[in-house]
Amino acid sequence: MEARSPGRRLESAKKLKDLGYQYYLGSMLAGQQGQPVAWITSGFPVELIYAMDIFPFYPENYGTLCGSRKVSGDLCQAAEARGYSQDLCSYARCTMGSIFQNAGPLNGLPAPDMVLTARNICHTVIKWWEAVARHYNCPLFVLDTPFVRGEPTEHQVQYVRGQLTELINFLERHSGREFKMDKYMEVIGRANRAASLWKEIQSLRKASPCPLSALDMFTGMFPIVTLRGTQTCADFYQEMRDELAARVAAGVGVLENDQFRLMWDNIAIWYNFQFYDYIHSRGGVFVAETYTSAWGVYQFDGSGSGDIFDSVARRYLMAILNIDLDLRFQQMAEAIREYRVDGLLLHSNRSCKTYSLGQLGLARRVQSELGVPTLLIEADMTDPRAFAEGPARTRVDAFLEMLNQRKVT
């Protein structure tokens, strides 16, 4: 295995370790300190949870932690031993395995007072959360977000909006805490600030050489996912943005020599960052990821015709995995043009059906309509048993060679 990363690391990224530590420590201490703990999904309107001073615990992020600590394989097997099929989402298996064995990177999990899930990222999180709620015998809230073709219809927005009201009642009932509008608006303000900085960070990667690649984005997305709405989150991205802007101004790239501007589709391969390093070492730099950009959409505006809940309902309906394939293609095409992408790598992720089914057609459209070559990588986000790294590297070699020839000719 080669030494860590041919790329320059960000100074600001050093803080991430501490943020992660504080977050997970907080999750384990919350119960003792009388703070209710809610398990929530990455597409759930967390701003309400922060506004009510409930601790949001993210099993999906915990899955990435299991992957990067390389304990996911064992935890998945522990879940399989209890009857959870190997074909199920590996994040879910990491959670269930940790619950059953009281094991994993945190030596167990913080017991939830309630669990909150939303359909907008997948149906998997509904089933997974049902299983968690049964295990802990705790209240479960399901936010139903109908699939969007084109634009959300008015009755879809009203349906979600109505559920947000139900959610507030649910949270008040089960946390014993009162919802306060002014506090919520403060959280919304901070969330908007963080999302806007996150978008700016993405945007700075349009520069050549590219100042940042996929690894810093994958690790750097931790705050926008878990801490969205806190001051810590906004502050972190301010620093990260400033550092990147300085890099761009100085003409410094993340790699010494980036030759191929690449885009990544789907969730990261969390247990194998060496794979990305390998691509970097061959001159490939990731200038954009559909995955990381998914968190830039959570900006809300209550000043228009509807109120704030209207805006929140619309934004959460438009999550990347809740919109039609045509729209996903358009977003992808726009990024490919704006970021001057030479090649698209699609992670065909065995665990994540909503993200992966439809990718084959998307790839064909990218090739035929945009003339951009694509490469499909078969893997799994946290189950290392589903990734054959050797063959994947060989395919990357061939792909980059082909991109090189296109440049020459």
Binding site: H123, T124, K127, V142, D144, Y159, S356, L360
Partner: protein, 386 residues
């Protein structure tokens, strides 16, 4: 009417199903529009009311996947892959359109892919039904979605989306559901007159054929069964199994199970009790669309819907009513919603002293030898066997 006649009638329906592609082409040539649909969550009443013929799309157990590989990865649900494969091969060329209800992620993807490959003029509708079945919000939302679908279907066929047509369609669908339920009940006795395989074959035909014809055939079978209802007093009878799962496209799978000396007396299947349990009926205060919404929100839920509780209640009722001794859970390979529920169902049944056998299957890969060995061991454990 002797029992042999019942079997002949059932065989007639099975034959229709086996020859359905040809027979459905004939319906189309006769000038009627064919609308395919997925899942028992599609209210076929709306297709009937719009003057068209509803056809449930099922996997083809006889065919290995081919062109679908260019669209869906091999880790996609085998049922979804098989259905899309048939569409791509033109096997379902008699369809004028398809209705996809929002259920699982795999079929949502099939709906999206179908949209990208089918030409203008093909009716492709995603019935964006709620995931949640509880409370007033899902009901109000669902009612809107149903109205949109009804209007779209009627427009497509140049008809009016009126209450009268819908009432007639509901009456027909309710009648067929009631008849199927009655026929299912014939297996409550110790020596059931019909096997699980035959019963499942009836549903496959009932969701493909002209619904008026279905009604006629099912009425004949019901009459024959009334005359010869099977026996409840002689000997121990076969081991009584319940089958749980999503869709079983190939009734022969139940045949394999029953060859081991068991009888499949009950089921919780999308092509079984989940399809026909619960009538629409009508309360004085509600219109037909409201009644329809109520039926589909209150029917036995499948694992793609929330909450799951009513399904467990349904299972418990079946266990008791049909004196079930063991349960076979048939899991379509890569079916996430059902795979997620397996531990819950296993625990629910184990707590009631019922052993559960998990069989993972793919429509085109029925490894009959291996399956029957496992089923035989299971049936022997339950005290049966040939």
């Amino acid at each position: 009417m002797p029992l042999q006649d019942v079997r002949d009638l059932s065989a007639g329906l099975s034959r229709f199903f086996a020859e359905r592609h040809q027979r459905l082409r004939e319906i189309k040539s006769a000038g009627k529009k064919n609308i395919g649909y997925f899942c028992s969550y599609t209210p076929e009443e709306l297709i009937l009311a719009a003057g068209m013929h509803p056809i449930r799309i099922l996997a083809d157990p006889a065919e290995q996947a081919g062109p679908v590989d260019a669209h869906l990865q091999t880790f996609s649900c085998a049922f979804a892959r098989s259905c899309l494969d048939q569409l791509l091969r033109g096997r379902l060329d008699y369809l004028d359109g398809i209705v996809f209800p929002c259920t699982c992620d795999s079929l949502r993807a099939v709906s999206e892919i179908t949209r990208s490959i089918k030409q203008e003029g093909f009716f492709n509708h995603f019935l964006n039904m709620p995931l949640r079945l509880d409370g007033d919000l899902p009901r109000a939302y669902y009612l809107r979605e149903l109205a949109i679908l009804y209007r779209a279907l009627a427009d497509f066929n140049g008809r009016q989306a009126d209450d009268q047509s819908l009432e007639k369609a509901i009456e027909l669908a309710d009648a067929n559901r009631g008849l199927l339920k009655g026929i299912w009940d014939c297996r409550r006795v110790k020596s059931p007159p019909l096997s699980g395989e035959v019963c499942l074959g009836l549903v496959n035909a009932a969701v493909s054929m002209d619904r008026q014809e279905v009604r006629g055939e099912l009425e004949k079978i019901s009459l024959a069964l009334a005359a010869d209802p099977g026996k409840d007093d002689l000997g121990p009878g076969p081991v009584r199994l319940m089958v749980i799962g999503s869709v079983i496209d190939n009734p022969a799978l139940l045949g394999i199970i029953e060859q081991s000396g068991a009888c499949v007396v009950a089921d919780d299947l999308c092509t079984g009790t989940r399809y026909f349990t619960g009538a629409v009926g009508r309360a004085a205060a509600e219109g037909p669309l409201e009644a329809l919404a109520r039926r589909y929100l209150e029917r036995v839920p499948c694992p793609t819907k929330h909450p799951a509780g009513p399904r467990l209640d349904h299972l418990s009722r079946l266990l008791e009513d049909f004196r079930v001794q063991g349960v076979v859970m048939v899991l379509q390979k890569f079916c996430e919603p059902h795979a997620f529920d397996y531990p819950m169902i296993r625990d629910h049944l184990s707590a009631r002293g019922l052993p559960v056998l998990l069989l993972e299957v793919e429509p085109a890969h029925l490894a009959a030898g291996q399956l029957s060995t496992r089923v035989q061991a299971f049936v022997e454990m339950l005290g049966g066997g040939l």
